[in-house]
Subunit: 211 residues, 2 copies
């Protein structure tokens, strides 16, 4: 973002990959997945379009390379689960809002959520990085049964909050102080983490046989 | 959808508009907003592309014309609010899952949610038709204070469930029986409808002066 002369034409290979990534990150965030073109990414990076294909192969692969989550699960999980089990939902709500209130974190998450509505690769990233590695792992680490299902319920509220507050921008939610929003979704997250769930009667998640 | 010869070339103006709408509805649902082109809509409708512009003006307007919600708020609200106030969340959860489990309802809602991530016109439709006319109205009709904020919290969980179960398809949530999912989100909706909220300390939603 400015200051590094990213728009100058690259001479050697050293900065090429980084320039393409920076350009791609910005365009995916700003234009969304569908409207981002490899050609425009190349132009903004100041490189020949063939180099984008050379380094990244295809648009889904370029997206997967640059659409990093703005957190590392193994760093986040210990701080969320440390302390009172009855307040894990509160800490997770605060962490979530904290990520989304920072412009860089918000940009990255919005980019992935937007892309996930149309692009299987981005949907997979949400399933793997957000649900499996982060949310279901938190549920599992605090000893809750049916952690995978709890992780997907948590994701529904967290992604939904992202949509409501930061993408669709529904008022007055969009203008509420982050702390108030975190406080209002915390009990939801806590219930999905540790509360009682409806009985699982479906064939899709069979119980292990006793013994 | 079949049976009516929608793909035949229109001769007169009588069926033209309807043919364009049917084609647009299908393509927006299947391809998403960005990938749908007025030209392809015209081709599938069997009409000249200039007629699409003639009748609908622009892609956002065409989208707004065909992206109807699969329900009419004034029909839905009485059935959701009738009965025990402590079970409005349960009835709203069941209604929501019922809409999403029907292929036509699901197609329409997914189309709007997808579009809302990139298109201001579709985001406005969610704010107006889903939050304001339906969810906030339900909160208001059952006598809850801060109905607009409650409506936006409800939307966050409902749109998030749409993302998780029907778009990103997170397992095991995506394969769970609809009744179990409705039962698990019902307490969330009930709390957003009638529960206590964190104190509103923000400048964005000032309280009316007393008296």
């Amino acid at each position: 973002m400015g200051g590094e002369g990213r728009r100058g034409r690259r001479q050697g290979p050293s900065g090429t990959r980084e320039a393409i990534e920076a350009s791609a990150r910005r365009q995916f965030a700003e234009l969304g997945y569908d409207r981002t073109s490899l050609r425009q990414v190349a132009i903004e990076a100041g490189v020949d379009p063939t180099l984008v294909t050379h380094y990244f192969g295809s648009k889904p692969r370029l997206f997967a390379a640059v659409a990093q989550m703005p957190f590392v699960p193994k760093d986040v999980i210990p701080t969320v689960i440390a302390g009172d089990r009855a307040r894990v939902g509160e800490r997770l709500a605060r962490f979530t809002l904290g990520v989304m209130e920072s412009p860089e974190g918000r940009g990255r998450v919005i980019s992935v959520v937007r892309a996930a509505t149309a692009e299987p690769e981005a949907a997979r990233m949400i399933r793997d990085r957000i649900v499996h590695e982060l949310l279901a792992t938190i549920a599992e680490e605090i000893g809750s049964e049916r952690a995978a299902y709890r992780g997907s319920l948590l994701m529904s509220q967290i992604v939904g909050m992202t949509m409501a507050r930061y993408i669709v921008k529904v008022e007055p939610l969009a203008s509420m102080p982050a702390e108030a929003v975190a406080a209002d979704i915390a009990p939801t997250l806590q219930r999905y983490l540790t509360g009682e769930l409806a009985e699982d009667t479906g064939p899709a998640a069979p119980q292990a046989p006793p013994g």
